[in-house]
Symmetry: C2
């Protein structure tokens, strides 16, 4: 599933219930030209900037990190966290590359609950 198709599908789904989710109106609310959003949805151009993707995620109630990932990007706040302690995070992330989802989830939960 490409970024564009995903956006189109989810926008159309919302549009079925609410006419305010037309290309034109969504485009206006996220601050781009309708023609541009149309091209994005059809994959005619590359996905937009992080800022526009955030606005889009907000508008369509989608997960920002998932949309950014589909657009081939990583959230700038995550990049900043990594850049502040590059070795620590680089090592950990590469370790986790081959771990199953549940293991990563468990670590996140343990960290959150302070289980150290």
């Amino acid at each position: 599933m490409t970024f564009g198709k995903y956006i189109r599908e989810h926008r159309e789904a919302l549009k079925a219930e609410d006419r305010r989710f037309s290309v034109r109106q969504v485009a206006q609310r996220i601050g781009v030209e309708p023609a541009y959003l149309s091209k994005i949805e059809r994959g005619d151009v590359a996905p937009p900037s992080e800022a526009k993707i955030r606005a889009l995620a907000n508008e369509l109630n989608e997960d920002v990190d998932v949309l950014l990932a589909m657009a081939g990007k990583v959230s700038s706040d995550l990049q900043e966290i990594i850049r502040k302690r590059p070795q620590l995070f680089a090592d950990l992330i590469r370790q986790l590359k081959s771990m199953p989802d549940h293991a990563i989830l468990r670590i996140a939960r343990d960290v959150r609950d302070g289980d150290w």
Copy 2:
């Protein structure tokens, strides 16, 4: 410490022991024009691409992730790992943002040793 100054310092340190670490020769080995490396070291232009930073790290025996961080970048292999499971990694990394170094180190070690 900026990227350029860091590179200059470390290159000059190596040059003191080995004349092959002149701007010109290093530039040639990493595949850029001498004038360009000179400008990079003086902060006259932005840091180079990830590929050139990798070549530079290799040449100067420096940690790639640290150099990339100084250049305001995050290694593309890390980005790819995150993009494959965006929610999982986004959550975990944001959890770890406020954790001390030793906690992150310990997680990495536990994962490596399979202490689950």
